[in-house]
């Protein structure tokens, strides 16, 4: 797993830089922590993402974590974490540690052919799989108010790829 550029599949521009505190990664359950989230010990929570429904067991998943509507809804918004992970099965699990209590939203896509972009069809609609938290986004880019969820304890979020 690598920390990389943001990947909101519907956002054209990539984030320029991320300020990451520490990065802990494991093959099965990659774990991330970020300086800006590390405030007090009692407010630290773990977020586990289960991403399901891979139609192809190859390529890379690009995932971004957001903590506010302005950035999530913007084409050029800054994510607080970005993950890229090679796909080997039909489910992927990613965990973030030491997240503060708050509202978060996820966007991701599966670059099945490793061309480092979300392929789109003639109409501009993604032809590779993508997903948002709360499984929204059936009719275009999801907004933060639809995709966001509260984190006030350890939590597992399932995202079914579209």
């Amino acid at each position: 797993m690598k920390i990389t550029k943001p990947c909101n599949p519907f956002r054209k521009s990539m984030l320029t830089a991320l300020t990451l505190g520490s990065v802990l990664a494991s093959t099965l359950y990659p774990t991330l922590s970020f300086a800006r989230q590390v405030q007090t010990n009692e407010s630290q929570h773990q977020l586990t993402l289960l991403i399901k429904g891979y139609e192809q067991k190859q390529g890379v998943t690009y995932l971004s974590l957001y903590d506010n509507a302005e950035d999530f809804n913007s084409m050029n918004g800054k994510s607080i974490a970005n993950v890229q992970h090679q796909i080997q099965g039909d489910t992927l699990s990613i965990s973030f540690n030491q997240l503060s209590k708050g509202e978060y939203a996820i966007s991701l896509y599966h670059d099945a052919n490793n061309n480092r972009k979300l392929d789109r069809n003639l109409l501009g609609i993604p032809s590779e799989q993508y997903g948002f938290s709360n499984d929204v986004g059936a009719f275009g880019p999801a907004k933060f108010d639809k995709a966001s969820f509260k984190l006030d304890g350890d939590k597992t979020v399932v995202i079914n790829l579209r």
Partner: protein, 490 residues
């Protein structure tokens, strides 16, 4: 892809040996369909082995080839019955003609949907008009693609066609499924209608109507004679109207953007509302650059099918089986008590209408045939000529019983018509013009004799429909009701 092809061929080998338990459906016997509609459909196998039909009359020796037809056959799985005819999985039927014999065989189209549902032993997705329990969200337009509307030969390839997703390529000999067809990398899973049209130069044209995700665009495909993509373009539409087919003239691709408008809903058909006070738009696209030449507003209507279109001087003639609303789709082709298969179904009558459009000023006139004619067909070898159309249906007079189908020929300019009445209890399916090796033209169609619970073929000499069929061929059983197909001479 090769693995998948091998797998599918293995599947076909299995089905040819009688793999399937009965679980498809077909129109059942008995003319009193409304009274016992719950039992009006009976199970049929997932495949029909090749069998000779019993012949009547004289089958011409110069007539050789295969009539392919597509039927929405599988309407029930594991206790759940679809509530709309459009939701049955496609079955390709093949009638082989030659040497004075007629054979029939049939095979389900092995779509991704069909294979996944075979594995799961249940329907997994919402249909166009049906909602099986615990349905999965469709990931793309092919997730629930049953490839069940038509089967067409383009070039040397045979395609099973739906309208909201991809074509599937079929083996013309044994009817096995090769797989989904992608016309291009950026065209995967996009709509490709069941009604491609052949141009006079041998090219093929087709449309794909995209009315989802807040967009209304029609994809125009131009393929060469060997079904290789030459050109594709997405044309913005003024409204998200339902379009099942289109028409083609010498200069134009003709879209009829109906007043049956889409906004997202739970089921596909729930997402449409007919705007009776709205408009239908006839959009003329210049074949040269696919620009909009002219958009003509006509009163709100609903259309599935078109006859041919042709230009004479500054006038364009388009024939269409026109409905005053979209009840035929939302109710008439449902499998409930409001079905058009019921006796009192005249409310769903279409009217074969001819629109005559002045290409200079866009003014138009409409000529009504007073014929509730559907599945209009014309001679594809001469698409832009004035010619009589053939179809099935009934005159719109009140004396005619609604459950009685007629074979109809209609001339769009003179209004001349010829009608053959099979009598009560017959369901007539799409008729086609075909030619024997000697050049003799015939009209052929499949039909069901509901009283005897059997399906078959009827063959007429073209221009002599009133004389009745010159030959018929009957099976011992009834095949699934079907929509569209093609004849491939050998």
């Amino acid at each position: 892809m090769s693995n998948r092809r091998e797998f599918l061929q293995t599947l076909v080998a299995g089905t040819a040996c009688g793999l399937a338990a009965k679980s498809g459906l077909s129109l059942a016997s008995g003319s009193a369909m409304p009274a016992d509609f719950g039992g009006a459909f009976k199970s049929v196998p997932k495949s029909f082995e090749k069998r000779a039909l019993t012949l009547e009359g004289n089958w011409p020796t110069d007539l050789r080839g295969s009539l392919y037809r597509n039927s929405p056959a599988m309407l029930e799985r594991n206790g759940f019955q679809h509530s709309h005819l459009f939701d049955g999985d496609g079955m390709i039927q093949k009638f082989s003609l030659g040497d004075g014999k007629v054979f029939h065989q049939a095979q389900m189209v092995a779509t991704d949907k069909f294979l996944n549902e075979e594995d799961a032993d249940r329907f997994l997705y919402h249909g166009l008009g049906s909602s099986p329990p615990n349905a999965r969200a469709a990931r793309n337009n092919d997730s629930a693609n049953p490839a069940n509307i038509s089967v067409r030969k383009m070039g040397d390839k045979l395609f099973a066609l739906w309208e909201a997703g991809s074509a599937y390529e079929i083996d013309p000999e044994n009817l096995s499924t090769y797989g989904r067809v992608d016309w291009g990398e950026d065209l995967k899973h996009l709509p490709f209608s069941a009604h491609p049209l052949r141009d006079a130069n041998g090219d093929w044209w087709n449309i794909g109507s995209w009315i989802y995700s807040g967009q209304a665009r029609t994809i125009i495909y131009q393929l060469d004679a060997q079904a290789k993509l030459k050109r594709v373009k997405a044309i913005p539409m003024n409204q998200a109207g339902y379009m099942h087919a289109f028409a083609l003239s010498q200069r134009f691709v003709i879209l009829v953007n109906t007043a049956h408008l889409y906004t997202p809903g739970k089921r596909y058909f729930d997402s449409f509302n007919f705007d009776a006070k709205g408009k239908t738009e006839i959009v003329l696209l210049d074949k040269n650059d696919l620009s909009v030449f002219k958009t003509i507003e006509i009163p709100a209507n609903f259309v599935f099918h078109f006859g041919n279109a042709f230009e004479q001087g500054e006038e364009l003639f388009i024939s269409m089986a026109e409905y005053r609303n979209a009840d035929i789709m939302s109710k008439g082709l449902g499998l409930g008590p409001h079905s058009a298969f019921a006796k009192e179904a005249t409310q769903y009558n279409s009217d074969l209408s001819v629109y005559r459009i002045n290409l200079k000023n866009g003014k138009w006139q409409k000529q009504s045939s007073q014929l509730a004619m559907e599945f209009p067909n014309f001679r594809e070898s001469t698409p832009f000529t004035v010619q009589n159309l053939i179809g099935m249906g009934r005159p719109t007079g009140t004396a005619n019983k609604a459950d009685q189908d007629y074979l109809i020929s209609y001339h769009p300019l003179s209004g001349e018509r010829e009608i053959y009445d099979f009598g009560n209890g017959f369901t007539i399916e799409e008729p086609l013009f075909i030619n024997g090796a000697s050049g003799q033209e015939y009209v052929i169609h499949s039909l069901a004799d509901r009283q005897k619970s059997r399906s078959g073929l009827a063959l007429f000499r073209s221009g002599e429909l009133k004389a009745g069929p010159i030959a018929m061929a009957w099976a011992e059983e009834q095949f699934p009701f079907g929509f569209h197909g093609c004849f491939v001479p050998s």
